[in-house]
Structures are given as C-alpha cells and as structure tokens.
Symmetry: C2
C-alpha cells in the first residue's frame, strides 16, 4: 500500500482535497469564498459574534490506532472542537486542520481521516477550508474551528449565580467506560460493548442543544471533556461560587449500569470526554426550558455561596469523598 513517503506533499494535499470535494453533500458554506489552494482561505464578512477554538489529538496520548478506525478518528478530531463551539451556544462555520504524519503511514488511512471530516461536516455543518501537512515522528491531528452565534447570546463559564440549578444534557460516563472496554477485556454483551465504544470513538457534538440553551435564556455552559467534577469546578472558579450535586440525579444510562454495576458512578463523575453540555440557570429559566421539551436534560444539583468546589452527595445524603482524578496529561501521564 502507498505510503506517505512515496508521494510528494503536494500530491498528498491534492488527494485530500479530492476526498473533501467528493464527500461534500448539499451546498457549500455560504461564507467560504476560496478554500484550499492559496496562501490563505478567504471568508466573506461575518456580521455576528465569532468564537474560535482549537483542540489537538496526539497518538498514544489521546487515541490509539488499534482501537479506532481512521474515519472515526477524523470524525472525533472535529467533534471535540464542535463540542466547544456548541458549549458557547454557537454553530461552526469553518475549520483548518494540521496533520503531523509519520513517513510510513498509509495514504489510504489519511484519506480515511478526511472521509471522517466530510462525514461530520455533512451531519453538523461547517467546512474544512485549509490546513497544513507536516512530517513528524509523532502522529497528531490539530483542528481549529471558527463558529458564530445566531442568537447573540454567548454561553460562558463565569455567569453561574447562587441559587442556579445545574443541568446536564444526555447521559454521562459511557465514553470513559468505552475507553476501558477498548483497553481491557470486559465481559459484556455485544450491544452494550458497541454502545460504550461508540460513545468514546464517535461522540456527537451537542450543537442543537447549545442553540436551544442560548435561545432560551441560559447564560452559563461548558462541555464536559475533562470529567463532570473537574469541569463543574471550572464553572465554580470562573463564577466565584460553589456547587453541590447528587449522585442519584446523575444521568447514567442502562448500558453503563449493566456493564459496570460497581463502577458506573466513577465513570459518570470522574470520566472524561462525554461532550455533553453542563449548564446552570435560574429555576424559572430551567422550568421554561423543561416545558419546551426541545432537548433532553437532567437537573443534577445547584449553585451556592462558598469556595469554588464541588460537593457530591450520595443517595444516603452523605458527602462523598471523590478523588477528582481528571485528565491532566503532563503530571499524571494518563492516556486521555
């Protein structure tokens, strides 16, 4: 099979551009004037507030090539960035992508990564307008996404108020359980296994949910990438408040409970990469949101005065002493 070192950088870029063009369905982004092929891509004026985020995935730190397909990897590399855009209450407009490639990687694999890019663009919008391909002894994918707000209401981390309720979209814990399943042998039925691995390898950015939150008066949100407690603590620190959550209210799905009857709570509070939206709002705003029935969410606790920390209450009403764990790459060396 053809390797990256067998063809020129320009040939490779031409092939990847071809994958993008071939995979595109529907109309191209109306803001894009020129994409690949010049010193820079050209974007028409954007008359609304923009947001920009960047997130990089490194082999053997954020993913392993034997536990994901290359199409899934492409999907996820963009999905984790779209999740940040969703958490701001915005929609993606365009992305630029850098691939750090080892010379012995297969060209077909790189094309598959690009198929993953077109797949998620076709599902959630946004367009890959450019990038860079560099030689590297470590395989990595770096994505930058620019998004925009349609409501004008940008969701931030520093707006949580005392008395706010804490909400969370979807379910949590499945992604980190999926990583566990991929790394170690765990006896469980095929359907459950597939469900957990899917949560880990092809997360769905909650762009629709972010739009609903922003248009219904929510002011505070972030996405859960480093684990519920770690991320809620960031909202507390930014807003200068404390938070209390109850384990019995955490949205943990039946698959996860069945697969890990003893550990599902651990995955839900300390696991990462859920890419659900964590948000706060006044009782009134939350009630109005609930009445609309437009998104699936659960209330898991409330914001109160005090030090910026997260208190976890178990089903007996006792305070749980939970190691924050988390996803700190350098000091723990934990693969995330």
């Amino acid at each position: 099979m053809l390797k990256v070192s067998d063809i020129s950088e320009f040939d490779l870029i031409n092939r990847l551009e071809h994958v993008l063009k071939k995979g595109a369905t529907g109309i191209p982004g109306s803001y894009i004037e020129t994409a690949i092929g010049d010193d820079a891509a050209v974007i028409l004026p954007i008359n609304s507030t923009q947001v920009v985020t960047t997130d990089t995935m490194v082999e053997d730190v954020h993913f392993k090539c034997d536990t994901t397909t290359m199409v899934e990897l492409g999907w996820k590399a963009i999905a984790v960035n779209y999740s940040d855009i969703a958490a701001m209450g915005c929609l993606p407009i365009y992305s630029v992508i850098t691939l750090g490639l080892k010379p012995d990687q297969f060209v077909q694999d790189i094309e598959d990564i690009y198929k993953g890019f077109t797949k998620i663009s076709n599902s959630y919008g946004g367009e890959v307008v450019g990038g860079d391909v560099v030689k590297s002894d470590t395989f990595f994918i770096s994505v930058t996404v620019v998004g925009q707000s349609s409501s004008g209401n940008i969701l931030k981390r520093n707006n949580a108020k005392v008395g706010d309720l804490i909400g969370i979209t979807g379910h949590i814990g499945c992604s980190s359980a999926g990583l566990e399943v991929l790394q170690y042998s765990n006896p469980m039925d095929m359907e459950t296994q597939k469900h957990l691995i899917k949560a880990h390898n092809t997360p769905k950015p909650k762009l629709h949910d972010g739009q609903i939150l922003a248009s219904h008066g929510i002011k505070t949100a972030m996405d859960i990438s480093d684990g519920l407690i770690n991320d809620l603590k960031k909202i507390c620190e930014s807003s200068g408040v404390g938070a209390q959550i109850k384990t019995q209210d955490l949205p943990i799905d039946e698959h996860l409970k069945r697969a890990f009857p003893e550990r599902h709570l651990e995955f839900a509070v300390s696991g990462g990469e859920d890419y659900e939206l964590l948000f706060t709002g006044s009782e009134e705003t939350i009630r109005s949101l609930k009445d609309q029935l437009k998104i699936e969410f659960n209330l898991i606790g409330s914001i109160h005065e005090g030090d910026p920390k997260v208190t976890v209450i178990d089903s007996e009403g006792a305070i749980l002493d939970i190691n924050e764990g988390g996803w700190d790459h350098f000091s723990s060396g934990k693969v995330t």
Copy 2:
C-alpha cells in the same frame, strides 16, 4: 529547572497566559471580547473579508533547538503565518496556538516561546486568543491566524496575466544561507554570519508591503516559503501561464554574495523561507507602484503564454537548467 511534567496542564496554561498579559503593550485588539479562559475565545463581528491560514513547525523537521533561541522560535512560528496573511494583502487579527510538548521540556523555555509571541504581536499586531497544550513525544508548534482585508482587494495566486511583470520585495536567499551557516561551519565575518542567521531565525512578515500592493491595484501575490522557483511555479499553475526570470535581476544582497560567492544564486532561486512577497502586475500598475516609492522591490522577469513552468535565463542569455530542489518534507526528508 522546572519541567513541564512537574506542573499541571492548568498551571502551565496560567503561566503562559501571564506571559501574554505581561508582554502586551498598547491597546488589545479591538475585536477580541474574551480570550483564554472559556471553551472558545469570543471575537466581535468582523465586517470585512477574512482570511485564515495555518502553519506548523516540528522539531528536527522545521527547526532544531540548538540553532534557535526559544524566543526566536516563538517569533518565527507566528511570522511564517503572518507572511501568508501579508501575501493575501491582509492584516492579522487573532491567532490560536497549539504546543505539542515533551514532558522533560523546561517551563522557562515554553514561557520564552510565549515571549516571542508577544514580541511579534507588539511589532505587527494581532493577538493570541487561545490554544491548546498537549503531551507529545515530538515537540511542535501549530499556529492558526485569522486576518482581514482593509482594502477589499485580496491578493491571489490565480490572477497572473500574460504580459505581467514579476516583482519581488526585499532580498532573497539569505534565510537558506543562514540555515547552511547554522548547520555547517562556514568561514565568514561575524556581521555577515549574524545577518544570514537572523534572516533564517527571525524573518519579518511583509505585512506593510502586502498592504501597499493591495491598495495599489496588484492582484497576484504569494509569499516565498518553498523557494523562488517552486513558488513562482505555483502562481503559473494557478493562473495557467508561464514565467521567465533573469538571474541578473534577482535581488541578492552583498552579505550573501560575499559569504557564498559561488552559491548565492543557488540560495536565491532554490532556497526557501525568504518570506518576501512575489507578485505580478501590468507594466502600468508596476510603474505606478514604483513611482510611489513606498516599498522596496525589484522586477525579476515576466509572465508569458505557455506551459506553467519557470524559465531561468542567466547573465549570458542562456537558459539555466536548475534542479527545482524545494522543500518537500516526505519524499526528500530534507530538513526545512
């Protein structure tokens, strides 16, 4: 000395943010509402055409840590992107930056890279609004820059017309000669050595020149990063024209001629990373540009009908057979 693995990712990001804030002079970018500290940075509406570019530098592929300071490295990582923005006739607004760091790198070095970022931002504008720091076995810096056009005239590669003259700003060849000096021992005076190394390690993005070209009716430009012939060939391919240049008209400075009396031409035509602007325009437009005396440039040849290739004529009027050389990372493995 403190290493990256001695502190948490969050501590490191806090330190880097501190370097940015401390180094900032003058007013912050008027388009930036929120920079570091949320899921995404927030940018106010930009009512003009935008351009976006991304460029990554990998250790031992694009730089070596023993031939550059970390402050210079930070400068260059942004400069090469600003050069693309300049080549579009635009100015930078904001950047996002990803660092791939080895756990044993010194925190002080990473802070110095950020000092390089503030240094170039203070000289040329634009603001670092966010980024990502990831663990990697290979040290790399990936930069994405968004810029905007003030004139509305975006300089492209595909506008060269038969009869156009070919211009080039500044001087070429010094950067690749500087790389040679850094890699091998070459007897020469200190001042010349310093001049060549400076051209390689801290290139100046020609943002002002790009502005002048765009506001004086030039339509075609690109920056020289892969070497004059390689890059001029790209203009030919995009525009469907041929080009002819004369070696006697190439702007080669005295330092380079003195240091490499036999090889200066080779550096000028095939060397890379000059980051000067290569442009074409009608005789009339070029004459008017020359009359304004606002930028330093030289005419090196002309555009004609024919295959998209570059013909080089020597001082005797003979066609030179020049190996295109170039900077193709994968197939040649050449360090660029």
